[in-house]
Symmetry: C2
Subunit: 662 residues, 2 copies
């Protein structure tokens, strides 16, 4: 494998110090001074479209300073299919040679350099070859030659995948941040045991096939939701905050080399219908990564424009917008500072003949044969627990999706949005089938604020939605032709370790005494969430706790915390805000929030003090599968493999340069 | 299901207050005043032997006080197979009526009662019917009638399982306390990624089938290693600290109603060979639960006697001791206070014609056709990290298994013990096959002391052992007839959430500044454990880190902690002791250990202050399977199902009252 040998040799010769680059990296995918994007070790679906960028770096200072800060702009690049002669990139892909680009960026070599404000400045020469594809399965080597004979080689694999469709429809549920540990805890809250035997189970527990996927990013072992969603949807890992691109070092957030996503492929190859449903604002990473191509997930307005009109700054797969698109995030639709160019995106979607729903009543009444947009509030949808158990917390919000200064109260949940999306997609997809992504977003968002009850409530809502979906597909007669995959994009280091006697805890006077309210091992006892309490009835059905506020609650925690106070038990007045910047302090320095769990005991944090919330964790996350191709989802694999398994089941590979036919 | 209705009705009528019994329970399996053991909702293998105990409780005081504290000693009990008439227990099983027993016990209704030293005292009348079995698959109801017409009914299911052997051999690896999160972290340390693609993988990652098992105890949602091992080995959940029995309330720790274990069944039905290997002391819960029948795992000496001679106080399945038995724990073998009746158990095993090995050299030279005992140190075996990377830590111990005041330094690891056990069992089992349990015990033990490096080192040793086992079975020509299962008994709420720059951390002056050495999300970067450091070489092979002490280490944690100090990075001088009782304080009140990670920042605990270590957690744990019957291990199920799947694959069911034949 010459690529890695070269990389290592160069690395040792030219930039030994950079080897310790860890907290910060010059460019994650480029340990040498010559960069190939997509980098070494990437996989491709036959016929999947992508861009190729080359960069040559010349650091002007720091441990890697080179060539007086002048990047080699005479670099050349070739591509070789195994067993064939090397060709220039332009020749191989029948493109004309692109223009040379130049820019400068800076970074810190470590935390000491950051404290000293000692930035390393890098000058760059670059070229990008846009909209290419590799059709023939096999191994390809791409070699960049620069600085008079240095080389960086990327080895790519085009996987030998199927062009034949095995599933007509795919429904991909994502519990954002959902781990096996959380699923176990949710089962404990909502399902009852008698002498160790569960009397009912989660819908997920009944899936026939289980796998684990590794969630790490291309250049960091902890991922965010943007690049992990991108890996699941495109088969290409990216860097934190990036979606649908390999992040380059240029200042433009929208010129990075792109990769085609599952809905772009499905639209181009089969003309299927597709939709996205989320309890987040719809421009949030997990839903938007289906169509987004940017290295910054925070360009919300632009990304909604991309979702409706496709990529418009470069020639790319033509997109006509989703067939069903339901979630929160009115900020990007109301004309104003949150929307792209200040435009009214309700109007933009209406121009493209969408039905527009701003509440549950309207959603349920929307026609199934028309493209459907449903935006039900500003920001994220209120969580299941507030919608169902503590509705007073919703009434105090000013999140009306019309922009009125009022609370959005006629709200659908994940189940209503998902079932309606299936109706629309089933009708609009017809014989061409459909793809639906349905996200329980606040499993993650509520874990971030250590609000375990709200996170587990939304996990149970996801499970209830999965169960209702199976029933619905059966009723429509399409269950057996629909692949259902339920997974996550990353974890949080959550687990339950016992119970807490909230009555005892509240009665104790000091922090150490309060901790003695926690019962571990045999003293954890059984779940009290499944025990009926006289006078308490929520009417939320068989798949949810019968009591959210028992005396004995779960004691749980994360390994990664900001400073906070812990008293366990449900937060009745809305989501937790565990840490706050103390008045007078810097806004990025967080301490225990004095108004959160005031009766609890203080737990000082393990995270940097500028983190107000918990953070993502490393753990592999589960994959549950049922339907056509289910058996391919067993065992342990990378998150990109979820894409290849789904793409293979949908027959999205194009081993020759033609549009495949069914 | 009348059983549960009855239980609920009685519970509401007679003992409403007891419903909130949670931190403590009168008798976990008995919410009413009449107890049937095995209780409601238990499953059985056809022909599996067990005891039945009935108890009638009369609390003398507290919220449940009843009948002036006089238990009904005229209680009666019947058993009904579905569709057949009820018979008395004695009649059904053709036993004579056992003697009535009486005793008294006490408990606390909650933490307030404990603080007030206000115990509830209960008088008990009881009978036990010993060594029965149910052969015919189907549903059985056992009803206890007491206090003039009250009833408690237990519904039992005898599962319709196979009497035909599908696997000749079974090797069951247990990573004690091992979760998916830990497996993910171990992969990160020992295997390298290039641009997001792992270049090598764990042996576990290559298993074709993956499942999840639920680990909860019969009466608490957090388990310990005794009763979870018992569930895995017998198909019967138990209470914390109990093994091979349903815990009763009597004072005798060895009279509780027993259930037959996998090695007892295998010995009785097929005459196969069996062995246990552990890096713990061999009387520890996971290895000893194969043969132990007690509600107290702490009766170490007695349990070694039980392992060699079988149950001797009651008529029970005849056992002749294991064919291979390797681990630590010389305390129970050296004549003295740690051994049963002070006897020399090396001599006892020798009398039964065992080869006795006290070091690795002797182990490797032991004959394969003779029963083999190997005890290599006192207490637990030193962990992989100390044996391989920091051997100085071993030299300072006085753990010689001969009792000499010296360090045991000629130590085998899990791999050497397991491979030798396979040699012995393969030869001694012959055509009858074998069962081997191999335990990586210190994954759990080191997680307890927050020593993540040592825990993950032993997890990697387990993975390396699994890989070597597959190779060995292939060489012996028995790979395809051997079912290999790798699982755990419970979890710890561990996860990795970023990296820590140890150099930066050490250079900061206060706790909040030190926390800023942690890099999260994109700042976690890549694993530095896989990057060669000039001059550092351990020679530990491809499946282990090339550097255990990089500048950038993993930042990880548990949700459940004692007070401790955190600086991340490897503890070079031996395992961590995170919390200590400050001199002058009560020995059960733990604070930060001033000598552990003295350069770190303080993290105050979330656990009761009498906990010096972390505790177990709730999470479902993974099950990896390959070989005959592998497909039955997919999906989500209870820990008892692991037993039924293995027993079914070994053809251990006896649907009629005869010994089955191959």
């Amino acid at each position: 494998m010459p690529s890695r040998l070269n990389a290592v040799a160069l690395c040792l010769a030219a930039s030994l110090a950079a080897v310790s680059g860890q907290t910060f990296q010059r460019l994650g995918t480029c340990p040498t001074l010559g960069c190939v994007l997509p980098p070494d070790q990437q996989d491709f679906l036959p016929g999947q479209q992508f861009d190729i960028r080359f960069e040559v770096h010349a650091p002007t200072n720091g441990s890697e300073a080179f060539n007086g800060g002048v990047p080699d702009d005479k670099f050349t690049a070739t591509i070789t299919k195994e067993g064939q002669p090397a060709k220039s990139i332009a020749e191989f892909f029948k493109l004309s040679e692109p223009a040379l680009e130049k820019w400068t960026f800076s970074w810190f070599e470590d935390l000491f350099a950051q404290d000293a404000k000692n930035a390393s400045v890098v000058n760059v020469a670059s070229k990008i070859y846009r909209r290419v594809a590799l059709y023939e399965p096999g191994n390809y080597n791409v070699t960049l030659t620069y600085y008079s004979g240095r080389t960086t080689t990327a080895q790519w694999v085009v996987r030998p995948l199927a062009a034949k469709k095995k599933a007509k429809n795919v429904i991909f549920f994502i519990g954002d941040g959902m781990t096996t540990n959380m699923i176990t805890a949710a089962r404990l809250l909502a399902h009852k045991t008698v002498n160790g035997k569960y009397q009912t189970l989660l819908a997920l527990d009944k899936f026939p096939v289980l796998g684990h996927q590794m969630t790490h990013s291309i250049d960091s072992f902890i991922t965010d939701s943007a690049n992990s969603a991108s890996a699941l949807y495109s088969g290409h890992k990216s860097t934190v905050n990036a979606m649908g691109v390999y992040a380059d070092s240029s200042p433009d957030l929208f010129d990075d080399p792109k990769v085609e996503t599952i809905v772009e492929l499905l639209t181009r190859i089969w003309g299927s219908a597709w939709g996205a449903v989320s309890t987040a604002f719809i421009a949030d990473a997990t839903p938007i990564a289906l169509t987004a191509h940017t290295r910054s997930r925070y360009q919300y307005g632009s990304l909604i424009d991309q979702a409706l009109y496709g990529v418009t700054n470069y020639s790319w797969t033509k997109m006509n917008g989703p067939d069903a698109y339901f979630g929160g995030g009115a900020e990007q639709f109301l004309a104003g500072s949150g929307s792209y160019l200040g435009k009214d995106y309700y109007a933009e979607f209406a121009k493209k003949n969408y039905s527009i729903s701003l509440n549950k009543t309207s959603l349920l009444a929307a026609p199934n044969n028309t493209k459907a947009l449903g935006i039900f509030c500003k920001s994220n949808l209120p969580v299941w627990l507030d919608r169902n158990i503590f509705p007073e917390n919703i009434k105090k919000l000013t999140n009306d999706p019309s922009g009125a200064k009022a609370a959005a109260t006629d709200l659908p949940g994940l189940k209503e949005m998902t079932l309606k999306a299936i109706d629309v997609l089933h009708e609009r997809g017809g014989k061409k089938g459909f793809f639906l992504m349905s996200e329980a977003a606040s499993v993650d968002k509520q874990m971030h604020v250590l609000d375990y009850d709200r996170a587990l409530g939304d996990l149970l809502e996801l499970d209830d939605t999965v169960q209702a979906t199976i029933k619905k597909l059966k009723a429509l007669g399409i269950l057996e032709e629909t692949l259902i995959v339920v997974s996550a994009d990353h974890g949080h280091g959550f687990d339950v370790f016992g119970n807490a006697d909230t009555k005892y805890l509240a009665a104790q006077q000091d922090d150490r005494q309060k901790r003695n309210a926690v019962g571990v091992y045999q003293n954890s006892g059984l779940s009290q969430y499944t025990v009926e309490k006289p006078g308490v009835s929520y009417g939320t059905g068989a798949n949810f706790p019968v009591n959210w506020d028992p005396r004995y609650v779960i004691a749980a925690g994360l390994g990664a915390n900001p400073d906070h106070r812990e008293a366990y038990g449900v937060a009745k007045n809305g989501s937790r805000v565990p840490a706050a910047a103390i008045s007078g302090g810097a806004s990025s320095d967080y301490y225990v929030n004095p108004t959160d769990k005031p009766n609890g005991f203080i737990v000082n944090g393990t995270l940097p003090t500028n983190e107000a919330q918990g953070v993502h964790s490393l753990t592999d996350v589960p994959v549950f599968a049922r339907g056509p191709c289910q058996d391919t989802f067993g065992g342990v694999y990378s998150n990109i493999d979820v894409f290849y398994k789904i793409a293979n089941c949908l027959g999205l590979a194009q081993p020759t340069n033609k549009t495949a036919s069914a």
